[in-house]
């Protein structure tokens, strides 16, 4: 009995209860993650972080939320009022919606019903998450536009371009997963990772997804839509009070959502870490959730880590990276994966598959070394002609080309 | 029937050589003529190989075919481009390539001072290719391609010196007269297709016995028209005299030996049509008899040596056509005369060319005289040809012409007497005018200018002449010995089963009669031209003047065809200007008025275009709505 048919038997009230559970989980997780991020970043910067409100400062983010809610709600005069209000709502609603297809546990019993902790199981679940994510960006873009101010507009522009570009890479990275799992349903994908995590089997896909998920959520080092240093705060510059809080919430829920998706697609979902499978049997289905959230929190830590260590990328470099690196690499990788898949489904001998893989590795190595050489050559070509001497006296230094030492 | 893979070379070699020389341009100026000559010689070689191969086979296996590609495939109408080499075509192949090669050689010297010698040789090769296609095609359609090809080559070569308007006009005249004949051929092909559903010789031959008399007569008449056009027969003969504008080797090759005999070939090839239709045969003999007398009379009046020879060609081909019209046995005699004529007439034309070469291109025979002393070889070869053409035994013409006269008498009844008489009369006039040509040119006292320095031609020119004159001496005897050619051609023209039962006159009597009239003719000519020849032609009798004007042929054409044609054209032009143009102008005016008013619709706004589109969609929907109501 698979997840889809189990869910199909759920009565309406059970779905409501599950929805509530997911919602509460997300909100709590947001509060905790805001606190956690501040603590972790502080540690990375040799500080302590919030530690006053509640034990270890755990209630700090709750207090901040209350404070935000009590602030004056400003709507700029130049703003487009309706869109200005709608934008944070779109952000906040869509970020929760992707949880509908996340399998949080295996089979559990809830109020006497056998079910799984997953609201619905669509055959195209992952595509659904992508779709919701793409709708979610409307919040940011519209917020930027409706503020009627330059910085937010620039933030919105950047955000839309960023989303269009990185969604392509993200979608392409998922193709390999679909090919290997033979399905686009989240629960099927989790089941397909029973033996090997896709993070291992499809390592390049995992890396591409991990990179593009950071881009998708506008997090450092890809937080160009809000770039404090350049755009004052980007799309949410003009927002305050609860509307700002909604964006805040949306950002963190989104982080959790993409982390959950990464967990589901690449890290075996709610299943235990390799070698610890017995825990699922001993402690029951609900314990799977622990494994799930351990993985999600791992991803969250990665996010924080990135924020704490990496500088923000320049916008053009960021776009160049997306279009000229991530997408071509994804395409090539899909080619390789599908070839391998066809080979194995045709029952080619292992040696052939191994030879093919080895050949691909060789080609990649050769290609990269050629590329590096050409880059080095290009940088040499850029040097000015050494026969043109500067028109001013330059002290002679032995072994150094004078022009090069000045211009290079 | 045997399949041969070499037949294509016969056509392809000269064709490619021609294209090669034309495309390569000036680079080939230095060696183009040598290449062309070698190619021509090699086709002769191929022809010889095929001939001996055919000799070694026997009976039905002698004919060889080669299918090249499927040419036309329209429904049930299928024509292959394929070649057929049988006993008839091999005669032509050897004649064309053999005489052609000799004339190539001759031309190297004759044209050596011409700037465009390479182009001339390219055209010659083109002619050889087209002529070979004509005789090798296995269907009327393939023949037609060659037919048009030789027409083109002839046009190009007559007008070779087209910087002179008169020559260009002569080329055009030849082309147009040929076109009239070509219409006949194309009509014949169309009728054949409607009647027999096939245009191959084999297909038409198979269908001919079952066809209606009217159809056969129509095809025969059309084929005769085609033959008349190509072979300068009455009433389309007027172009041949003017065609002498071309270089003399051209006259020798195309307008004496080969192309003009295509009509004879066509009729012989279509023997199955003419065998089945007595009316067609009658037409043929009438045309042949008229032309042989016509040409002979014209020949007596011409002072231009080439035109005199041209008239003689016309007359001799008249003999051939006459022979073809005389039924199965006549075909072989026609072909025999064709072959011998090819030798002696080519020899004489080359001789004429040699004379012109020595006389600074002077063609008026009244300004020759006594050239035999300065040009002994030319005089000798020309003399041999002369003896052959007037039918002095044992030269070639005696064998071939006597057979034709004999056959004409044997046609029986009044017809036999009339035809035989005409042929005999023709022979006498031939003897007269040919003697006139010879005497005026080579004997008597010299009448040429002080400026002229007649001299013998270079060896490259006289060697072909010698070879041809040997042919004109020996060919008649060789071909008629034991009826060699008759037996050889028998499978093609069906002559084996027809042996003329009754003889009006025995061969000996005919020969004696012929010899008698020839002697009379020769004697008359010697008496008239031996003594003194005025440099300016005397006014002469009415008949002489009429003959000088080609017996009024051009006048007839001008008055009966050209003038009414012009009038009709003028009238049509008037109608075109007033009426047709008026309609067109009215349409144009209406359109421009409409467009001026419709221009407002095109206001440049995309949205109004979109609106119009929507309106169109509404109209469409309304139409559907109404239709499905």
């Amino acid at each position: 009995m698979n997840a889809a048919s189990i869910i199909g038997n759920d009565p309406g009230w059970l779905i409501a209860v599950k929805g509530l559970i997911v919602f509460v989980l997300c909100v709590v997780l947001t509060l905790m993650s805001v606190w956690g991020e501040r603590r972790i970043v502080a540690r990375m910067q040799m500080r302590l972080g919030p530690n006053r409100v509640g034990p270890f400062g755990l209630l700090q983010s709750l207090a901040d939320g209350v404070k935000l809610a009590l602030k004056e709600d400003l709507i700029p005069k130049a703003a487009d009022r309706i869109v200005f209000v709608i934008a944070p709502v779109i952000s906040a609603t869509t970020c929760f919606m992707s949880f509908a297809v996340m399998p949080l546990t295996g089979k559990v019993s809830l109020f006497g019903h056998k079910t799984v902790m997953q609201l619905t199981d669509l055959p195209v679940g992952v595509l659904y998450v992508l779709a919701i994510a793409s709708v979610g960006v409307y919040g940011i873009v519209l917020a930027g536009w409706s503020s009627g101010s330059t910085y937010p507009l620039l933030g919105g522009l950047r955000s839309s371009a960023q989303v269009i570009s990185y969604e392509v890479a993200m979608g392409l990275s998922l193709v390999a997963v679909f090919i290997y799992a033979g399905s686009m349903s989240t629960s099927d994908i989790v089941a397909a990772q029973h033996k090997w995590w896709f993070a291992v089997v499809l390592f390049p896909s995992f890396i591409i997804y991990a990179i593009s998920m950071v881009g998708e959520t506008n997090r450092a080092p890809f937080d160009l839509a809000e770039a404090e240093g350049e755009l004052v705060g980007g799309f949410h510059t003009e927002y305050s009070s609860l509307k700002f809080a909604l964006f805040f919430l949306a950002e963190y829920v989104n982080i959790v959502a993409v982390s959950s998706l990464a967990t589901t697609l690449f890290l075996g979902g709610y299943h235990a870490l390799p070698g610890l499978g017995f825990t699922e049997n001993w402690l029951g289905g609900w314990f799977c959730m622990v494994w799930f959230f351990i993985k999600v929190i791992g991803f969250f830590y990665l996010f924080v880590w990135l924020r704490g260590t990496l500088p923000r990328m320049r916008y053009d470099q960021f776009m160049k990276f997306g279009w000229k690196v991530l997408i071509p690499v994804s395409l090539l990788w899909i080619l390789v994966v599908s070839t391998l898949r066809v080979m194995s489904s045709r029952g080619e001998p292992r040696t052939v598959i191994a030879a093919f893989t080895f050949g691909i590795v060789l080609i990649i190595m050769a290609g990269s070394s050629l590329y590096e050489r050409s880059v080095r050559k290009a940088s040499q070509d850029e040097l000015p002609d050494s026969s043109v001497q500067p028109s001013f006296p330059v002290p002679h230094v032995s072994g150094i080309n004078r022009v090069e030492s000045i211009n290079g | 029937m045997t399949t041969s893979t070499h037949l294509l070379y016969l056509i392809a070699l000269p064709l490619f050589s021609s294209a090669f020389l034309l495309l390569l341009g000036r680079i080939a100026d230095k060696w183009g003529h040598i290449l062309a000559t070698l190619i021509s010689a090699s086709t002769f070689g191929v022809g010889l190989v095929e001939f001996f191969a055919m000799r070694s086979r026997s009976g039905d296996a002698r004919a060889a075919t080669q299918r090249i590609f499927e040419w036309i495939s329209v429904g049930s109408f299928k024509v292959d481009a394929s070649l057929l080499l049988d006993q008839l075509s091999i005669c032509f192949v050897l004649l064309i390539t053999g005489v052609g090669t000799l004339i190539h050689i001759y031309s190297i010297a004759y044209m050596s001072h011409d700037r465009d010698r390479r182009r001339f040789f390219a055209y010659l090769n083109l002619f050889v290719a087209a002529m070979l296609l004509l005789v090798l095609g296995d269907s009327y359609l393939n023949l037609y391609v060659g037919w048009e090809g030789v027409g083109l080559a002839s046009y190009l070569l007559i007008g070779f010196w087209n910087e002179r308007p008169a020559y260009a006009t002569a080329a055009k005249k030849a082309f147009i007269a040929n076109r009239v004949g070509d219409i006949g051929l194309s009509l014949a092909i169309m009728i054949a297709f409607t009647q027999f559903g096939s245009v191959t010789f084999a297909g038409v031959k198979a269908g001919a016995p079952h066809a209606s008399a009217a159809a056969l007569t129509a095809i025969g008449a059309m084929l005769l028209l085609a033959a008349a056009g190509k072979s300068a027969q009455f009433p389309l003969q007027s172009w041949l005299g003017d065609a002498m504008a071309g270089p003399t080797p051209v006259s020798a090759l195309i307008h004496a030996a080969t192309m003009v005999t295509a009509g004879v070939y066509l009729i012989t090839r279509s023997s199955f049509i003419f065998d089945a239709s007595a009316t067609s045969r009658l037409l043929v003999v009438i045309v042949g008899a008229i032309t042989l007398l016509f040409g002979a009379i014209v020949g007596t009046a011409k002072d231009d040596i080439k035109k005199a020879l041209a008239a003689s060609t016309m007359s001799q081909i008249g003999y051939m056509i006459l022979a073809t019209g005389l039924g199965p046995v006549g075909y072989a005699f026609a072909i025999m005369h064709l072959l011998t004529h090819g030798f002696f007439k080519a020899s004489m034309f080359l001789g004429a060319g040699s004379v012109m070469h020595g006389m600074n291109d002077e063609v008026n025979m009244r300004k020759y005289g006594g050239l035999g002393k300065v040009m002994p070889i030319t005089a000798a070869t020309f003399g041999l040809g002369y003896l052959a053409i007037i039918g002095v035994p044992p030269f070639a013409g005696f064998y071939s012409k006597d057979k034709i006269i004999e056959t004409a008498f044997n046609a029986g009844g009044t017809r036999g007497v009339l035809l035989g008489g005409a042929a005999l009369l023709g022979a006498m006039i031939t003897a007269f005018y040919m003697t006139r040509v010879f005497v005026l040119t080579f004997s008597g006292e010299k009448r040429w200018d002080e400026k002229a320095h007649p001299h013998e031609s270079p060896s490259l020119m006289w060697i072909p002449m010698v070879v041809l004159s040997i042919g004109s001496v020996a060919s008649g005897f060789l071909l008629s010995k034991g009826s060699a050619l008759v037996h050889w051609l028998a499978p093609v023209v069906n002559s084996s089963n027809v042996e003329s039962g009754k003889e009006l006159m025995p061969p000996v009597v005919v020969s004696a009669l012929a010899l008698g009239v020839v002697i009379i003719g020769v004697f008359a000519a010697i008496v008239k031209y031996r003594k003194s020849v005025p440099l300016e032609a005397p006014t002469g009798s009415l008949l002489t003047r009429f003959a000088r004007r080609d017996l009024g042929q051009d006048d007839f054409n001008h008055n009966v065809l050209v003038r009414p044609g012009r009038a009709i054209t003028q009238a049509l032009l008037g109608i075109d200007h007033k009426f047709v143009d008026g309609i067109v102008r009215a349409v144009g005016w209406t359109l421009s008025y409409l467009s001026i008013s419709l221009k407002k619709v095109q206001n440049g706004y995309v949205r109004s275009y979109a609106l119009l589109m929507t309106a169109g969609a509404v109209a469409l929907l309304a139409a559907i709505w109404l239709v499905t109501l």
Binding site: V124, L142, W145, L153, L157, P384, N407 | S608
Partner: protein, 258 residues
Amino acid sequence: MFKMALQVGSTHTPEAVLFWIMAPMAVLAALGMLLVKKAVHSALLLAWVMITLAIFYIAEDALFLGIVQVVVYTGAVMMLFLFILMLVGVDSSDSLVENIKGQRPAAILAAIGFGGLLLSLIGRAVSHTAAVGLTATNADGNVQGIAQQLFTRYVWAFEVVSALLITAALGAMVLAHSERKHISQRQLSVDRFRQASLADTAGLPASGVYARHNAVDVPALLPDGSAAPTSISSTLEARGDIIASEPFELTANEEEEN
């Protein structure tokens, strides 16, 4: 919502409810798109229509297409529209005054005719047709079914369309490409060092440097004591707010004194 969408194959009532709620909203949104002034609002309303349609697709057992509709149309196409709107005409709100004579009444007339005829024709053609339904066809899954068709019967069309997509992408790049007009920072710095004089290689001097007064309208003094006119903002120069530099220059005597 999705729960319900999945069940509509079997029951009719929820689908009817869904339809009668969503369809009027879609029509209203489409009308709104037609009537609102701001292009961005139009885009948003259109996005809403598209999402509605996606929901309808899902309700009509075209799950894959519904999701793809959101990803492609709402996610990519409309986002592209918004992007271009922001890039091109953020504040160029369309004036709704018609400038082609008779365009609007004619358009409305044509539209009424078009719509009326279309609806009437549809009414005749498909009204009360019994739907076969996709339950049987989708037995192996909607995605699998589409894939089956797409890669067998329609594979040629699929390839052609992919070629079209690539061509379109290239075409858009070529169309939208513009020669780079401004010079990059790197190029500027390289150029600075390549010129004959290295006087302002390190940037223009700031106003007031070494002068006796550090106001912005006082030129800087160069090492030889002369004034550097490039040190004053061109704006001030244009306004005429510039003070003669002579009084502030160092004279030779003064230099010696110091």
